[in-house]
Amino acid sequence: MADGSTYAFGVAFERLDGSPIERVDLTPDWEPARERFRLLVAERGVDPSVAFALEPLVEPRWSGLRGAPFVSACRLRAGDRSEPALDLGIGYFAGSVQRLSSELVTRGLLGEGERYCATLIARPRAEGERPRRGALRRRARVPIRPASLAALERCAVAHEDRGDNDPLWFVPGELLEQARARVASERERETGGVLVGHLCRDPARGRLFVLATGQIPALAAVGDATSLSFTAETWTETRAELDRRARGEIMVGWWHSHPVHLWCRDCTIECRRLCALDRGMFSESDRRLHRTVFPRAFAVGLVLSDTGNGPPGVAAFGWRDGLIARRGYHTLPEGAIDVS
């Protein structure tokens, strides 16, 4: 992954008594954080073709206690240092730190289950050390439509409203019914599709939100009981269908099913009552697909969990400050918008 930061980052692993274990290079995946930054800029009314093509700088915020090279947070901001700025806490790097610590265990530098302290460190890169970025002309095609949020909020039903700052996400009930119907016809294997719609701005409130207007079934995707392969042909067909619809929609996310009733058929009722699979989860593969294809900060992945106990439940996952997290969504009543 390209890393355009003018700083090189690493992790200092130390024992709890402060003695050093090792300093390890870290190559963070900055792109989800950059996308969050771009959305922040777009929310401020900057032309989306500019906002979504920005290449923010990443700078360390030195630890107040220990000073450089120890880092307490990272700040993303535009090259001209104008507002806004996005601060990333250490939690952004937690997954990378965990992977690196596993490698230390494998190498015998850290005991299995041993507690340690991991601190982000940074140093300025030498000129010749900086990766090539910016020589390309980047284009962003993320149109933003004006739309009234109040009109949608009046008729929408909130699901898993977590009171966070995620862009509101509206999905028509009929669209979910279309997806459920596909799940019902493919109960022995995973199935899915691509969600299309619009990124919208409420002119009165200046707030961005997503309005899903349709789903394109991934008919060329290959599913079995535990996986769903989105092939190159899947994307070609999706693009062709999007063009055929000719409504100015963009891809705003994706959905797929988890046939939990197959995975859990040998589990006890008590076990299933406590199991996260019944409530909807995003697997590591799901996260990787979301990162690879849907890195925009407004994109959402829906999981329909077919537990065999009533209609499949819907769980939504999306980006929150550069990390994938479960999030809320709103459903719209039948007829609120055209989802044909």
């Binding site: 980047r138 962003a140 899915g192 535990t226 989105f230 693009r239 995975w263 593969s285 990787r288």
Partner: protein, 101 residues
């Protein structure tokens, strides 16, 4: 022998599957293979290289002008013209928890 051009190909537009992010490539080595070109473009488009299990993700390059996927072994100068548009399409899996596989 190329039916189109020899030497570098100028100005390609390459996008991801959503079409929301694209880059203009100003010059490509005509002697490179499509596979080598795709490898370079992954970094330019900030696309991930590995799946959740650490295996390389396979990307195919779709040439819009001809409506076909290019073969990795094709020579750039034989397959592409200046002004062409490519879409990089991953073969990628979603799915259930790894310990169920």
């Amino acid at each position: 022998m190329s039916q189109f051009s020899e030497g570098p190909i100028a100005l390609l537009e390459v996008s991801d599957v959503t079409g929301q992010r694209a880059v203009d490539i100003e010059e490509v080595d005509g002697d490179a293979t499509v596979g080598e070109l795709v490898d370079r473009l992954l970094a330019d488009l900030e696309l991930t290289r590995d799946d959740a299990d650490g295996r390389p993700i396979t990307y195919r390059a779709r040439l819009e002008r001809e409506g076909r996927h290019l073969h990795a072994a094709e020579r750039v100068a034989d397959a592409l013209r200046t002004g062409d548009r490519l879409v990089l399409q991953p073969n990628i899996d979603a799915g259930g928890p790894a310990d169920r596989r």
